[in-house]
């Protein structure tokens, strides 16, 4: 008679039959089907109070206990009542698990991510945040004074005084790191294989000129590298070789334009310092090749840095 309410009425038995208020609501529901959902909630609450399972068959299970941890995301929904709170346990370095939040816009993805970042920072971890929509800066006032200012810095690419050719540490040979940058440049800026080889061979020449391979600490800047390629004449080379040089020069020009502040830096300890603390990389306004190149560079840099620190 009441559709989906029938099962619940059956489950509650005399509790419904003897309750005049529920009976009155059920009578009203016959005239107004919109009331069914509200009555369903009331009946679910009654079932839950009895210790029963109000969840519809096949829907989500009743969760009674979950591992405790550091970050409370919220209570688990057990039908109509709150279950235990879901926590992100303290990350176990020996068994680290990654996290993905998936969903459509305006349903709280960023808020969840912000909360995770804040809690991780409060527990003393370093967090690198890549903020593409300018929403993470509110974490700065959210941190208590004791954690500031050393713990969190917000930088835009204009503040990044870094040199892309400078390896993360002494444990990586400049030549080896150049190979990584060559690969990154190729994959993120769509260079063909030939251009990548041309890039590595000629930057190695620049390394020799600057004395990098002999232990020098001044790396060629991005602007210097661009100038070098602009002045390069490929004598006796094929049409393809000239095309490689042209596309390579175009990509380097694009990077110099996008990261103009960085383009003259030859040596810097900025990334090593940033690795010791939490950072918000404010990347709003950047898109396409420069954005992907920078984010991927920073990720690969951090990965190599951490690997070296472990060694």
């Amino acid at each position: 008679m009441y559709g989906k309410l029938d099962k619940r009425i059956e489950q509650l038995g005399p509790q419904v039959d003897d309750n005049p208020e529920i009976q009155a609501l059920l009578a009203a529901a016959e005239l107004n089907p919109d009331m069914v959902d509200s009555i369903d909630s009331i009946l679910c609450g009654m079932i839950y109070k009895q210790g029963g399972d109000p969840t519809r068959a096949g829907e989500f299970p009743i969760v009674t206990s979950l591992p405790p941890g550091t970050i409370a995301l919220g209570p688990v929904d057990n039908g109509r009542r709150c279950g235990p709170t879901f926590y992100f346990p303290e990350p176990d370095p020996s068994n680290l698990r990654h996290i993905a939040v998936v969903g459509e816009t305006r349903f709280g993805k960023t808020t969840i991510l912000l909360h995770i970042c804040l809690q991780r920072m409060l527990s003393g971890e370093q967090v690198w945040m890549f903020d593409l929509e300018d929403e993470f800066a509110s974490l700065i006032p959210a941190l208590p004074e004791s954690n500031k200012p050393a713990a969190l810095t917000a930088v835009t690419p204009d503040h990044l005084m870094i040199n892309f050719f400078q390896p993360p540490g002494e444990w990586i040979e400049p030549r080896q790191w150049l190979g990584v940058i060559g690969l990154l440049l190729r994959s993120q800026t769509y260079l063909s294989d030939g251009s990548e080889n041309l890039f590595i061979d000629n930057v190695l020449e620049l390394f020799k000129i600057k004395g990098v391979l002999a232990g020098g600490s001044e790396f060629p800047s991005l602007a210097e590298t661009l100038s070098y390629f602009q002045s390069l004449k490929l004598s006796g080379s094929s049409k393809r070789g000239k095309e490689w040089l042209e596309s390579l020069t175009n990509r380097l020009t694009m990077l110099v334009r996008a990261f103009y502040a960085t383009s003259r830096v030859t040596n810097s300890n900025m990334l090593q310092r940033l690795a010791q603390q939490s950072v918000i990389f404010r990347l709003r306004g950047y898109s396409g090749v420069p954005l992907r190149f920078l984010v991927n560079f920073l990720l690969i840099w951090l990965s190599c840095y951490k690997e070296g620190v472990q060694k």
Binding site: V102, L113, V127, D131, A275, E307
Partner: protein, 365 residues
């Protein structure tokens, strides 16, 4: 080993298109696969589960799903989280702050009501700049001295100037909107615009929208942009026209997700005209939106015809400013017409104000 968390918001924006992504090197995928060994924990948010690389999916310890409506995304979420068909159906009914969690330490997925997290307001640009400068004071770096870099005319357009020029070419927006998008203070934007104006690359749009100013590239700017590889967005009806139409659609669209806008509609084909936009509201209520920036007499003629189109309940004429509004009212008053639809004339400066009550405009109908 100390854990380092890397959070990437809107991770899908870093994806390249599929064909090019096969070049075989993706640091994000690599970090997911091996980052844990180096003490790196990744936390990403994305709109498309389908865009996540299989190697990334395989290394996820915690998957959190919020509302999804795309059937393919729902199917993928069902597969990825191991949801039953009934559980998968719930994805389309998830409310704000309701999520489904599949957690590596727990055998089944479950539903979580996320706590209300409120964060303080974002600091202003000056405070953020000070924060960055405080940090930069502790950093040491050396520069090449600039001797090696030949400065050509094109190279002068770099840094802020380039970013502002790129934005002006690609987007139609006010100075405030651009500053917000580029995270720039107004004075930096001013300086950049001064350089661009001196080079003759940009100009102020001739049509004033209330107190708002729009900039666009000059023909010299357009050819310079092409050389620099910057894509210039061109509009058939002018920048001010496009700006007003986009913002009006956005404002009205935010009232109800069911409202659908149709550009290039052939609703008035019999009259040989094409409305700027047709708004189909719930309940079959249909509104023609006409933007009036120039040529009042011609626009008044079009509006008159649109008011006689079958199935149209209202014609919403938005003028760029109050002067145009007065002129349009004067012309339309003098005209004789037998319109079936109601006519509402507004000026963009007023109706683009955040406090403007759109509901009242529609309720009167």
């Amino acid at each position: 080993m100390k854990v380092h968390t890397v959070a990437i918001d809107e991770e899908h924006r870093l994806h390249t298109d599929k064909s090019r992504d096969d070049m075989g090197f993706s640091p994000i995928v690599d970090l997911f696969a091996t980052g844990a060994k180096r003490g790196i924990q990744l936390a990403i948010s994305t709109q498309f589960l389908s865009g996540i690389h299989p190697a990334v999916l395989a290394n996820l310890g915690c998957r959190i799903i919020t509302f999804l409506s795309n059937p393919r995304c729902i199917w993928l979420a069902q597969q990825s989280l191991g949801l039953s068909p009934l559980q998968a159906k719930r994805i389309t009914r998830l409310k704000e702050r309701e999520v489904i969690v599949a957690y590596a330490g727990y055998p089944t997925p479950f539903l979580v009501r996320v706590n209300q997290f409120t964060f303080p307001a974002k600091p202003d640009e000056l405070s953020l700049e000070r924060n960055a400068q405080d940090f930069l004071a502790q950093v040491t770096w050396t520069e090449d001295g600039g001797k090696s870099f030949e400065v050509s005319d094109e190279h002068i357009v770099v840094g802020d100037v380039l970013r502002v020029f790129d934005r002006i070419c690609r987007e139609v927006e006010t100075i405030e909107e651009r500053c917000l998008a580029l995270q720039m203070t107004r004075s930096r934007d001013n300086k950049a615009r001064d350089v661009l104006k001196a080079k003759g690359y940009i100009e102020v749009d001739k049509v004033a929208i209330g107190k708002m100013i729009l900039h666009g590239p000059t023909s010299k700017g357009e050819s310079a942009a092409e050389k620099m590889g910057i894509k210039v967005k061109r509009f058939k009806s002018g920048r001010a026209h496009e700006y007003i139409l986009c913002r009006i659609e956005k404002k009205i669209g935010s009232l109800n997700t069911q409202y659908k806008f149709q550009r290039h509609s052939d609703i008035a084909r019999e009259f040989g005209i094409q409305p700027d936009s047709v708004l189909n509201m719930t309940g079959g209520f249909r509104i023609i939106i006409e933007i009036v920036c120039t040529n009042i007499a011609r626009e008044a003629e079009i509006i008159n015809k649109e008011m006689t189109v079958d199935g149209v309940d209202m014609v919403l004429a938005i003028t760029a400013n109050k002067t145009l509004e007065k002129s349009l009212r004067r012309v339309l008053k003098d005209d004789l017409f037998e319109g079936k639809a109601r006519l509402v004339i507004l000026d963009a400066g007023t109706c683009l104000d955040p406090k403007f009550d759109w509901v009242a405009v529609f309720e009167r109908s």
